[in-house]
Subunit: 238 residues, 2 copies
Protein backbone atom coordinates (compact mmCIF):
# COMPACT_ATOMS: atom_id res chain seq x y z
CA UNK A 1 0.00 0.00 0.00
CA UNK A 2 1.24 3.50 -0.83
CA UNK A 3 1.20 6.66 1.22
CA UNK A 4 0.25 10.30 0.77
CA UNK A 5 2.13 12.99 2.69
CA UNK A 6 0.31 16.32 2.71
CA UNK A 7 3.19 18.68 3.35
CA UNK A 8 3.44 22.33 4.32
CA UNK A 9 6.87 23.48 3.15
CA UNK A 10 6.67 26.77 5.09
CA UNK A 11 7.28 30.14 3.47
CA UNK A 12 9.29 28.82 0.53
CA UNK A 13 12.92 29.36 1.46
CA UNK A 14 14.53 25.93 1.81
CA UNK A 15 15.83 26.77 5.29
CA UNK A 16 12.37 27.08 6.80
CA UNK A 17 11.22 23.57 5.96
CA UNK A 18 11.01 21.14 8.87
CA UNK A 19 13.15 18.02 9.12
CA UNK A 20 10.00 15.92 8.93
CA UNK A 21 8.89 17.55 5.67
CA UNK A 22 12.36 17.06 4.17
CA UNK A 23 12.33 13.38 5.10
CA UNK A 24 8.85 12.88 3.63
CA UNK A 25 9.83 14.58 0.36
CA UNK A 26 12.96 12.45 0.18
CA UNK A 27 10.95 9.28 0.79
CA UNK A 28 8.37 10.14 -1.89
CA UNK A 29 8.75 9.00 -5.47
CA UNK A 30 6.06 11.35 -6.82
CA UNK A 31 5.69 15.09 -6.06
CA UNK A 32 2.35 16.82 -6.65
CA UNK A 33 1.82 20.56 -6.41
CA UNK A 34 1.09 23.95 -7.91
CA UNK A 35 3.81 24.72 -10.48
CA UNK A 36 5.20 27.68 -8.56
CA UNK A 37 5.47 25.81 -5.25
CA UNK A 38 7.13 22.80 -6.87
CA UNK A 39 9.74 25.19 -8.31
CA UNK A 40 10.55 26.42 -4.79
CA UNK A 41 11.79 23.00 -3.72
CA UNK A 42 13.49 22.09 -7.01
CA UNK A 43 16.84 21.14 -5.39
CA UNK A 44 15.02 18.57 -3.23
CA UNK A 45 13.15 16.69 -5.94
CA UNK A 46 15.58 15.97 -8.74
CA UNK A 47 14.90 12.66 -10.43
CA UNK A 48 11.39 12.34 -8.97
CA UNK A 49 8.18 12.11 -10.98
CA UNK A 50 6.32 15.42 -10.80
CA UNK A 51 2.64 16.25 -11.31
CA UNK A 52 2.06 20.00 -11.52
CA UNK A 53 -1.11 22.01 -12.06
CA UNK A 54 -1.75 25.75 -12.38
CA UNK A 55 -3.73 28.01 -10.07
CA UNK A 56 -7.24 26.84 -9.22
CA UNK A 57 -6.22 23.28 -10.10
CA UNK A 58 -6.59 22.31 -6.44
CA UNK A 59 -9.24 19.65 -6.83
CA UNK A 60 -7.49 18.03 -9.80
CA UNK A 61 -4.21 18.02 -7.86
CA UNK A 62 -5.79 16.44 -4.79
CA UNK A 63 -7.64 13.76 -6.76
CA UNK A 64 -4.46 12.88 -8.66
CA UNK A 65 -2.43 12.77 -5.44
CA UNK A 66 -4.98 10.43 -3.85
CA UNK A 67 -5.08 8.20 -6.94
CA UNK A 68 -1.30 7.99 -7.24
CA UNK A 69 -0.89 7.27 -3.52
CA UNK A 70 -2.53 3.87 -3.85
CA UNK A 71 0.68 2.43 -5.32
CA UNK A 72 3.29 5.13 -4.63
CA UNK A 73 4.69 7.32 -1.91
CA UNK A 74 3.40 10.75 -2.86
CA UNK A 75 4.24 14.21 -1.47
CA UNK A 76 1.50 16.80 -2.02
CA UNK A 77 3.09 20.21 -1.50
CA UNK A 78 1.51 23.38 -0.08
CA UNK A 79 3.40 26.50 0.96
CA UNK A 80 2.95 27.64 4.52
CA UNK A 81 1.05 25.18 6.69
CA UNK A 82 -0.79 22.50 4.71
CA UNK A 83 -3.56 22.78 7.33
CA UNK A 84 -4.15 26.56 7.06
CA UNK A 85 -5.68 27.50 3.68
CA UNK A 86 -3.59 24.60 2.30
CA UNK A 87 -4.43 21.22 0.79
CA UNK A 88 -4.99 19.14 3.93
CA UNK A 89 -8.70 19.96 4.16
CA UNK A 90 -9.58 19.11 0.57
CA UNK A 91 -7.61 15.86 0.81
CA UNK A 92 -9.56 14.78 3.88
CA UNK A 93 -12.82 15.82 2.23
CA UNK A 94 -12.05 13.69 -0.86
CA UNK A 95 -10.28 10.74 0.75
CA UNK A 96 -11.65 7.21 0.83
CA UNK A 97 -9.30 4.61 2.29
CA UNK A 98 -5.94 6.09 1.32
CA UNK A 99 -3.06 6.20 3.81
CA UNK A 100 -2.56 9.87 4.66
CA UNK A 101 -0.20 11.82 6.91
CA UNK A 102 -0.45 15.58 7.35
CA UNK A 103 2.82 17.40 8.01
CA UNK A 104 2.45 20.99 9.21
CA UNK A 105 4.68 23.88 8.20
CA UNK A 106 5.21 27.48 9.21
CA UNK A 107 2.16 29.46 8.14
CA UNK A 108 2.55 32.74 6.26
CA UNK A 109 1.57 34.99 9.17
CA UNK A 110 4.30 33.45 11.37
CA UNK A 111 6.85 33.92 8.59
CA UNK A 112 5.78 37.50 7.87
CA UNK A 113 5.68 38.34 11.57
CA UNK A 114 9.26 37.21 12.11
CA UNK A 115 10.45 39.48 9.29
CA UNK A 116 9.09 42.67 10.85
CA UNK A 117 9.54 41.87 14.55
CA UNK A 118 7.03 40.25 16.91
CA UNK A 119 3.57 41.50 15.92
CA UNK A 120 1.69 38.26 16.76
CA UNK A 121 2.69 38.04 20.41
CA UNK A 122 -0.86 38.23 21.73
CA UNK A 123 -4.25 36.88 20.63
CA UNK A 124 -4.35 36.92 16.85
CA UNK A 125 -6.37 35.79 13.87
CA UNK A 126 -5.91 34.86 10.23
CA UNK A 127 -8.49 36.06 7.70
CA UNK A 128 -8.38 35.44 3.96
CA UNK A 129 -9.78 38.24 1.80
CA UNK A 130 -10.31 35.85 -1.10
CA UNK A 131 -14.00 35.69 -1.97
CA UNK A 132 -13.68 32.75 -4.36
CA UNK A 133 -15.24 30.49 -1.74
CA UNK A 134 -16.44 32.86 1.00
CA UNK A 135 -19.05 35.61 0.58
CA UNK A 136 -17.52 39.08 0.95
CA UNK A 137 -20.15 40.01 3.51
CA UNK A 138 -18.90 37.18 5.76
CA UNK A 139 -15.32 38.35 5.32
CA UNK A 140 -16.20 41.93 6.29
CA UNK A 141 -18.14 40.70 9.31
CA UNK A 142 -15.08 38.75 10.50
CA UNK A 143 -12.81 41.74 10.01
CA UNK A 144 -15.20 43.90 12.03
CA UNK A 145 -15.47 41.43 14.91
CA UNK A 146 -11.71 40.82 14.95
CA UNK A 147 -11.13 44.57 15.09
CA UNK A 148 -13.70 44.96 17.87
CA UNK A 149 -12.03 42.11 19.80
CA UNK A 150 -8.61 43.78 19.59
CA UNK A 151 -7.06 40.77 17.85
CA UNK A 152 -3.84 41.22 15.93
CA UNK A 153 -5.14 40.59 12.39
CA UNK A 154 -3.21 38.84 9.60
CA UNK A 155 -4.81 39.19 6.18
CA UNK A 156 -4.05 36.40 3.70
CA UNK A 157 -4.67 36.88 -0.06
CA UNK A 158 -5.10 40.57 0.66
CA UNK A 159 -5.45 41.84 -2.90
CA UNK A 160 -6.15 40.64 -6.40
CA UNK A 161 -7.20 42.27 -9.65
CA UNK A 162 -10.76 41.06 -9.36
CA UNK A 163 -11.31 42.77 -5.99
CA UNK A 164 -8.89 45.71 -5.70
CA UNK A 165 -11.11 47.62 -3.24
CA UNK A 166 -11.64 44.88 -0.60
CA UNK A 167 -8.43 45.60 1.27
CA UNK A 168 -9.11 49.32 1.46
CA UNK A 169 -12.65 48.70 2.69
CA UNK A 170 -11.46 46.26 5.34
CA UNK A 171 -8.84 48.71 6.56
CA UNK A 172 -11.59 51.34 6.83
CA UNK A 173 -13.60 48.94 9.01
CA UNK A 174 -10.57 48.40 11.26
CA UNK A 175 -10.05 52.16 11.59
CA UNK A 176 -13.38 52.40 13.39
CA UNK A 177 -11.91 50.36 16.26
CA UNK A 178 -8.16 51.13 16.29
CA UNK A 179 -6.07 54.23 16.84
CA UNK A 180 -4.69 55.71 13.62
CA UNK A 181 -1.17 55.21 14.99
CA UNK A 182 -1.61 51.42 15.12
CA UNK A 183 1.21 49.76 13.14
CA UNK A 184 0.49 47.83 9.94
CA UNK A 185 3.07 45.67 8.16
CA UNK A 186 2.94 44.59 4.54
CA UNK A 187 5.38 41.71 3.99
CA UNK A 188 5.98 40.41 0.48
CA UNK A 189 7.70 37.05 -0.12
CA UNK A 190 8.46 36.57 3.59
CA UNK A 191 11.51 34.32 4.18
CA UNK A 192 12.06 33.54 0.51
CA UNK A 193 13.68 35.18 -2.51
CA UNK A 194 12.77 38.83 -3.09
CA UNK A 195 11.55 39.40 0.46
CA UNK A 196 10.55 42.99 1.18
CA UNK A 197 8.30 44.85 3.56
CA UNK A 198 6.73 48.18 4.49
CA UNK A 199 5.62 49.44 7.87
CA UNK A 200 2.82 51.99 8.12
CA UNK A 201 0.62 53.67 10.65
CA UNK A 202 -3.02 52.72 10.18
CA UNK A 203 -3.89 56.30 9.25
CA UNK A 204 -1.27 56.43 6.51
CA UNK A 205 -1.70 52.97 5.01
CA UNK A 206 -1.03 52.71 1.27
CA UNK A 207 -2.64 49.60 -0.22
CA UNK A 208 -0.74 50.05 -3.48
CA UNK A 209 2.32 48.25 -2.07
CA UNK A 210 0.20 45.12 -1.48
CA UNK A 211 -0.03 42.23 -3.94
CA UNK A 212 -1.27 38.63 -3.75
CA UNK A 213 2.13 37.49 -2.46
CA UNK A 214 1.79 39.78 0.56
CA UNK A 215 0.60 39.25 4.08
CA UNK A 216 -0.84 42.31 5.84
CA UNK A 217 -0.58 42.40 9.64
CA UNK A 218 -2.52 44.97 11.68
CA UNK A 219 -1.44 45.42 15.30
CA UNK A 220 -3.69 45.47 18.36
CA UNK A 221 -4.32 48.47 20.61
CA UNK A 222 -0.96 48.01 22.38
CA UNK A 223 1.28 47.34 19.36
CA UNK A 224 4.03 49.85 18.59
CA UNK A 225 7.13 50.37 16.48
CA UNK A 226 10.50 50.31 18.26
CA UNK A 227 13.75 50.86 16.35
CA UNK A 228 12.04 49.85 13.11
CA UNK A 229 10.54 46.66 14.59
CA UNK A 230 6.81 45.93 15.02
CA UNK A 231 6.18 44.80 18.60
CA UNK A 232 2.98 43.63 20.27
CA UNK A 233 3.62 43.35 24.02
CA UNK A 234 2.70 40.09 25.70
CA UNK A 235 1.98 42.09 28.82
CA UNK A 236 5.05 41.68 31.04
CA UNK A 237 5.67 44.59 33.42
CA UNK A 238 9.21 45.62 32.53
CA UNK B 1 30.01 41.41 18.20
CA UNK B 2 27.83 38.51 19.25
CA UNK B 3 24.39 37.46 18.10
CA UNK B 4 21.09 36.41 19.65
CA UNK B 5 18.86 33.95 17.82
CA UNK B 6 15.30 33.90 19.17
CA UNK B 7 14.19 30.46 18.07
CA UNK B 8 10.85 28.71 17.89
CA UNK B 9 11.61 24.98 17.99
CA UNK B 10 8.04 24.01 17.02
CA UNK B 11 5.99 21.51 19.01
CA UNK B 12 8.94 19.79 20.67
CA UNK B 13 9.57 16.65 18.65
CA UNK B 14 12.97 17.01 17.00
CA UNK B 15 11.53 16.26 13.57
CA UNK B 16 9.38 19.37 13.49
CA UNK B 17 12.21 21.86 13.89
CA UNK B 18 13.16 23.84 10.80
CA UNK B 19 16.54 23.57 9.13
CA UNK B 20 17.18 27.22 9.96
CA UNK B 21 16.53 26.66 13.67
CA UNK B 22 18.84 23.62 13.70
CA UNK B 23 21.63 25.63 12.06
CA UNK B 24 21.21 28.50 14.51
CA UNK B 25 21.32 26.13 17.51
CA UNK B 26 24.41 24.46 16.10
CA UNK B 27 26.10 27.82 15.56
CA UNK B 28 25.33 29.01 19.11
CA UNK B 29 27.73 28.45 21.99
CA UNK B 30 25.16 29.30 24.67
CA UNK B 31 21.57 27.99 24.94
CA UNK B 32 19.01 29.88 27.05
CA UNK B 33 15.54 28.59 27.84
CA UNK B 34 12.91 27.26 30.21
CA UNK B 35 14.24 24.02 31.72
CA UNK B 36 11.59 21.83 30.14
CA UNK B 37 12.10 23.22 26.63
CA UNK B 38 15.88 22.90 26.84
CA UNK B 39 15.38 19.22 27.73
CA UNK B 40 13.37 18.70 24.52
CA UNK B 41 16.38 19.53 22.36
CA UNK B 42 18.98 17.81 24.53
CA UNK B 43 20.52 15.79 21.68
CA UNK B 44 21.23 19.02 19.79
CA UNK B 45 23.06 20.92 22.51
CA UNK B 46 25.63 18.58 24.02
CA UNK B 47 28.78 20.40 25.09
CA UNK B 48 27.17 23.85 24.94
CA UNK B 49 26.81 26.23 27.86
CA UNK B 50 23.24 26.27 29.10
CA UNK B 51 21.28 28.89 31.04
CA UNK B 52 17.96 27.53 32.28
CA UNK B 53 15.19 29.13 34.34
CA UNK B 54 11.91 27.82 35.68
CA UNK B 55 8.38 28.91 34.79
CA UNK B 56 7.72 32.64 35.02
CA UNK B 57 11.44 33.30 34.66
CA UNK B 58 10.81 34.89 31.26
CA UNK B 59 12.18 38.34 31.97
CA UNK B 60 15.30 36.98 33.70
CA UNK B 61 15.88 34.61 30.76
CA UNK B 62 15.51 37.39 28.21
CA UNK B 63 17.78 39.80 30.07
CA UNK B 64 20.43 37.12 30.45
CA UNK B 65 20.18 36.15 26.77
CA UNK B 66 20.60 39.78 25.73
CA UNK B 67 23.56 40.27 28.09
CA UNK B 68 25.32 37.09 26.97
CA UNK B 69 24.76 37.91 23.29
CA UNK B 70 27.12 40.85 23.43
CA UNK B 71 30.12 38.49 23.31
CA UNK B 72 28.58 35.14 22.33
CA UNK B 73 26.29 33.49 19.83
CA UNK B 74 23.21 32.72 21.90
CA UNK B 75 20.11 30.66 21.10
CA UNK B 76 17.05 31.62 23.15
CA UNK B 77 14.58 28.74 22.86
CA UNK B 78 10.77 28.87 22.81
CA UNK B 79 8.49 26.00 21.89
CA UNK B 80 6.07 26.62 19.05
CA UNK B 81 6.64 29.89 17.24
CA UNK B 82 8.93 32.30 19.10
CA UNK B 83 6.66 35.08 17.79
CA UNK B 84 3.32 33.71 19.06
CA UNK B 85 3.13 33.83 22.89
CA UNK B 86 6.92 33.14 22.76
CA UNK B 87 10.00 35.15 23.71
CA UNK B 88 10.42 37.32 20.58
CA UNK B 89 8.21 40.12 21.86
CA UNK B 90 9.86 40.49 25.26
CA UNK B 91 13.30 40.43 23.64
CA UNK B 92 12.36 43.28 21.31
CA UNK B 93 10.81 45.19 24.20
CA UNK B 94 14.02 44.88 26.26
CA UNK B 95 16.65 45.15 23.54
CA UNK B 96 19.07 48.02 23.16
CA UNK B 97 21.67 47.59 20.44
CA UNK B 98 22.06 43.81 20.45
CA UNK B 99 22.20 41.87 17.18
CA UNK B 100 18.97 39.85 17.02
CA UNK B 101 17.43 37.42 14.56
CA UNK B 102 13.98 35.91 15.07
CA UNK B 103 13.47 32.41 13.69
CA UNK B 104 9.85 31.26 13.52
CA UNK B 105 8.61 27.76 14.28
CA UNK B 106 5.41 25.79 13.97
CA UNK B 107 2.93 27.20 16.46
CA UNK B 108 0.97 24.89 18.74
CA UNK B 109 -2.37 25.28 16.93
CA UNK B 110 -0.79 24.18 13.63
CA UNK B 111 0.80 21.18 15.34
CA UNK B 112 -2.40 20.22 17.16
CA UNK B 113 -4.48 20.70 14.03
CA UNK B 114 -2.32 18.32 12.02
CA UNK B 115 -2.78 15.61 14.65
CA UNK B 116 -6.57 15.56 14.42
CA UNK B 117 -7.06 16.39 10.72
CA UNK B 118 -7.49 19.80 9.12
CA UNK B 119 -9.54 21.92 11.53
CA UNK B 120 -7.83 25.26 10.72
CA UNK B 121 -8.55 25.32 7.00
CA UNK B 122 -10.56 28.53 7.13
CA UNK B 123 -10.33 31.82 9.03
CA UNK B 124 -9.07 31.06 12.50
CA UNK B 125 -7.82 32.66 15.69
CA UNK B 126 -5.55 31.92 18.62
CA UNK B 127 -6.67 32.99 22.09
CA UNK B 128 -4.76 32.36 25.33
CA UNK B 129 -6.90 31.73 28.40
CA UNK B 130 -4.05 32.71 30.70
CA UNK B 131 -5.04 35.73 32.78
CA UNK B 132 -1.55 36.35 34.18
CA UNK B 133 -1.18 39.34 31.87
CA UNK B 134 -4.63 39.81 30.33
CA UNK B 135 -7.84 40.61 32.25
CA UNK B 136 -10.30 37.72 32.12
CA UNK B 137 -13.04 40.09 30.94
CA UNK B 138 -10.96 40.87 27.81
CA UNK B 139 -10.41 37.16 27.20
CA UNK B 140 -14.13 36.42 27.43
CA UNK B 141 -14.92 39.31 25.09
CA UNK B 142 -12.51 37.91 22.50
CA UNK B 143 -13.99 34.43 22.80
CA UNK B 144 -17.48 35.87 22.29
CA UNK B 145 -16.51 37.92 19.22
CA UNK B 146 -14.54 35.03 17.70
CA UNK B 147 -17.55 32.76 18.19
CA UNK B 148 -19.88 35.36 16.67
CA UNK B 149 -17.49 35.73 13.69
CA UNK B 150 -17.51 31.98 13.04
CA UNK B 151 -13.73 31.73 13.41
CA UNK B 152 -12.18 28.36 14.09
CA UNK B 153 -10.88 28.98 17.64
CA UNK B 154 -7.66 27.58 19.10
CA UNK B 155 -7.35 28.02 22.86
CA UNK B 156 -3.79 28.18 24.24
CA UNK B 157 -3.11 27.66 27.96
CA UNK B 158 -6.66 26.40 28.28
CA UNK B 159 -6.61 25.31 31.90
CA UNK B 160 -4.61 25.69 35.08
CA UNK B 161 -5.23 25.11 38.75
CA UNK B 162 -5.69 28.78 39.49
CA UNK B 163 -8.56 29.18 37.01
CA UNK B 164 -10.22 25.77 36.52
CA UNK B 165 -13.59 27.28 35.50
CA UNK B 166 -12.42 29.61 32.69
CA UNK B 167 -12.44 26.95 30.00
CA UNK B 168 -15.93 25.78 30.89
CA UNK B 169 -17.22 29.37 30.90
CA UNK B 170 -15.63 30.09 27.53
CA UNK B 171 -17.13 26.95 26.02
CA UNK B 172 -20.54 28.10 27.34
CA UNK B 173 -20.05 31.42 25.55
CA UNK B 174 -19.23 29.61 22.31
CA UNK B 175 -22.34 27.43 22.65
CA UNK B 176 -24.47 30.55 22.25
CA UNK B 177 -23.19 30.90 18.67
CA UNK B 178 -22.41 27.36 17.47
CA UNK B 179 -24.42 24.23 16.91
CA UNK B 180 -24.00 21.64 19.68
CA UNK B 181 -22.70 19.17 17.06
CA UNK B 182 -19.69 21.39 16.28
CA UNK B 183 -16.49 19.36 16.70
CA UNK B 184 -13.97 20.20 19.43
CA UNK B 185 -10.50 18.66 19.66
CA UNK B 186 -8.35 18.49 22.76
CA UNK B 187 -4.76 17.68 21.76
CA UNK B 188 -2.16 17.01 24.43
CA UNK B 189 1.59 17.04 23.62
CA UNK B 190 0.96 17.45 19.89
CA UNK B 191 3.84 16.07 17.77
CA UNK B 192 6.00 15.18 20.74
CA UNK B 193 6.34 12.34 23.24
CA UNK B 194 3.10 11.23 24.90
CA UNK B 195 0.86 12.79 22.24
CA UNK B 196 -2.82 12.06 22.72
CA UNK B 197 -6.14 13.61 21.78
CA UNK B 198 -9.90 13.56 22.24
CA UNK B 199 -12.62 14.61 19.84
CA UNK B 200 -15.96 15.83 21.17
CA UNK B 201 -19.15 17.45 20.03
CA UNK B 202 -19.57 20.89 21.54
CA UNK B 203 -22.64 19.73 23.48
CA UNK B 204 -20.73 16.83 25.06
CA UNK B 205 -17.44 18.52 25.83
CA UNK B 206 -15.60 17.27 28.92
CA UNK B 207 -13.06 19.79 30.18
CA UNK B 208 -11.54 17.24 32.56
CA UNK B 209 -9.33 15.82 29.79
CA UNK B 210 -7.71 19.26 29.33
CA UNK B 211 -4.47 20.29 31.00
CA UNK B 212 -1.97 23.12 30.47
CA UNK B 213 -0.12 21.07 27.84
CA UNK B 214 -3.29 20.91 25.73
CA UNK B 215 -4.56 22.95 22.84
CA UNK B 216 -8.34 23.07 22.43
CA UNK B 217 -9.67 23.64 18.90
CA UNK B 218 -13.34 24.50 18.31
CA UNK B 219 -14.59 24.17 14.72
CA UNK B 220 -16.59 26.72 12.76
CA UNK B 221 -20.21 26.30 11.61
CA UNK B 222 -19.14 24.07 8.70
CA UNK B 223 -16.63 21.81 10.50
CA UNK B 224 -17.40 18.12 10.76
CA UNK B 225 -15.89 14.76 11.67
CA UNK B 226 -15.17 12.32 8.85
CA UNK B 227 -13.69 8.88 9.55
CA UNK B 228 -12.34 10.11 12.88
CA UNK B 229 -10.74 13.24 11.37
CA UNK B 230 -11.72 16.86 12.15
CA UNK B 231 -12.29 18.72 8.87
CA UNK B 232 -13.13 22.36 8.24
CA UNK B 233 -14.00 22.76 4.55
CA UNK B 234 -12.17 25.48 2.66
CA UNK B 235 -15.27 25.81 0.50
CA UNK B 236 -14.52 23.88 -2.69
CA UNK B 237 -17.60 22.49 -4.44
CA UNK B 238 -16.79 18.83 -4.65
Amino acid sequence: MGKLYVIGIGPGGLDHITVKALKAIEESNIIVGYTKYVAMIKPLIEGKEIFKTGMRGEEERCREALRLSKDNTVALISTGDSGIYGMAGLILELKKDENIEIIPGITASSAAGSVVGAPLMHDNCNISLSDLMTPYEDIKKRVKLAAEGDFVISLYNPRSKGRPHYLKECIEIIKEYRDLNTPIAVVRNALRDEESYNLFKLGEFDENVVDMLSIVIIGNSKSYIKDGKFVTPRGYSI
